[in-house]
Symmetry: C2
Subunit: 314 residues, 2 copies
């Protein structure tokens, strides 16, 4: 059986023909006419889906279903995109619109980060785990939670905003206006601020030199730390500890089989993943009586969105 | 249809005949022979269930099912009580044992706090909510999480230990050995420590006087605060803020319809519940776009365990 996964982005829409094992057989993209009407955008998506299905040599009627991942606030159960900052969706009943346009009954929608988490869990780094928490360490911190093989999105899909769980009451200011959110400590942005502060305080450090040479981004501290710089090591260790504290919080609520770490910072690989695994093992409640929780880096990259969207419909 | 709810405690086992609406039609108790063998304890429970069913004038074969709530670590899916500090259970397959002893097929087990949360959600303060988080503010802090009408217990039922989510990295020491846990700020024990510290620092306060008269417990600060004492108000406000920070964390993950507050501290009623509701409204992520989250005090009292255990089997 074949499925279509649609990954809507601010610049382009990607659609892929996906088999039951999560393999993308072929994919195609179209420009997102972000300022066109919602109906026009959906018509573009429908046309793209048709194109992909035809290129695959099958008929729409043979599809097992279509899954759609969209940025913004999505009401999964209602099949509605409530709003999206960069695309002209507002209370857009995308499931009904797309289903009608294509004559396909099984159409599902969720937030794009949730789709990526589902894709990684079922077919990527999670390798079929039933319970996972995917944490995306990027400009912000996104979370996607899978419980018993299904996405947990909260009442009216308003939950799963794990980046805004408070891990340090009264702590650093977060972009959301509150203090002490996980995101204010675990995002790439937070790591960059910490790096910048350390550079200022320790102009003599190798970290400062690396920062001067290549600028400050999410990699700077990791690069200098690998070369043994103490200042950089402190920045990296603090950062990992805070990420770990967030993971432990999720562990104590969900006790997932696996944490999947995505986003730019996840490219640091073992330098990030191994100490995180150790931290979770040491600090998760009841870890001494329970099976260990694995921590792995995401593996599907940009395809996670398409595969996960398709998985929504499986 | 009738169900049996069994609530195992360290001192006594309670069993109730419960209808589909969560009403307890009759109940009975037996002494828990905590140091007898697990088989003997289960035999006692079976005898108690038989007694209750017979007193109800029905036959075991007419039961819709039996639910059991037990203290300790329970593997819900396997139907096994892994261990319990105060009762002689160790990897006790209670579902199989009790089912065989009584010839009843539908037997379920969960942790007692989870059962209480399910009972309150379906038939108590939650009044049929589909998504709830029950937070019990007692000696420790327990959590019970209901998602889509079902208990969320995590992989191998090792989760839902929300008392040990870290809300203040590097903060107060918790009984579990870690720092900054929700429990270290929101338990009655934490409130008592805060009260004691405030009394020491402000011997001139009304709080100190109240403490002298009646000793320090979870009520002391609330009593003095109601009489307008500034020191007591600060203690209470700080306490409520920390409870609120924990709730906001759960809100951002689950966005439940309702928070149900149980445990001794919940008896403070509006003095606790109203400011918590306000705090959650102000601080939950996306609360301005989403339906408000209710905060209510638990209403079923000691019956929550029986009713919730019965609800497990519904």
């Amino acid at each position: 059986m074949y499925f279509i996964g649609v990954d809507i982005g601010g610049m382009s829409v990607k659609a892929g023909l996906v088999d039951e094992k999560g393999n993308i057989l072929l994919k195609d993209t179209a420009v997102t006419r972000a300022r066109a009407s919602a109906e026009e955008i959906v018509a573009d998506i429908a046309a793209l889906v048709k194109k992909v299905v035809e290129a695959g040599g099958i008929h729409l009627s043979e599809l097992g279903g279509i899954g759609v991942g969209s940025p913004g606030s999505v009401d999964d159960a209602a099949g509605v995109i409530r709003y999206s900052c960069n695309i002209n969706f507002e209370r857009t009943p995308i499931v009904a619109l797309l289903g009608d346009a294509l004559g396909v009954k099984n159409v599902k929608v969720s937030n794009d980060a949730n789709c990526a988490a589902l894709g990684e869990t079922m077919f990527g780094a999670g390798r079929g785990a039933k319970n996972s928490v995917t944490v995306t360490l990027g400009t912000g911190v996104g979370t996607g939670i899978v419980v018993d093989g299904r996405l947990l999105t909260g009442n009216r899909s308003a939950g799963a905003e794990g980046g805004h769980v408070i891990i340090k009451a009264g702590g650093e200011k977060c972009g959301c206006g509150k203090r002490g959110c996980f995101e204010a400590y675990a995002s790439a942005t937070a790591l960059m601020s910490r790096t910048a502060r350390a550079v200022e305080r320790h102009p003599e450090s190798l970290l400062a030199q690396v920062a001067k040479e290549r600028g400050i981004d999410g990699k700077t501290a990791f690069i200098a730390a690998k070369q043994g710089d103490k200042t950089a090591k402190r920045v990296v260790n603090d950062y990992i500890r805070y990420v770990g504290i967030g993971l432990v919080g999720f562990a104590n609520v969900f006790y997932p089989e696996v944490f999947i770490i995505g986003g730019g910072i996840s490219k640091e690989g073992d330098a990030l993943i191994l100490p995180l695994k150790e931290f979770v093992k040491k600090n998760a409640y009841g870890a001494e009586f329970n099976p260990p929780i694995d921590v792995v880096a995401a593996t599907l990259g940009n395809d996670a969105g398409i595969i996960g969207a398709a998985a929504l419909a499986m």
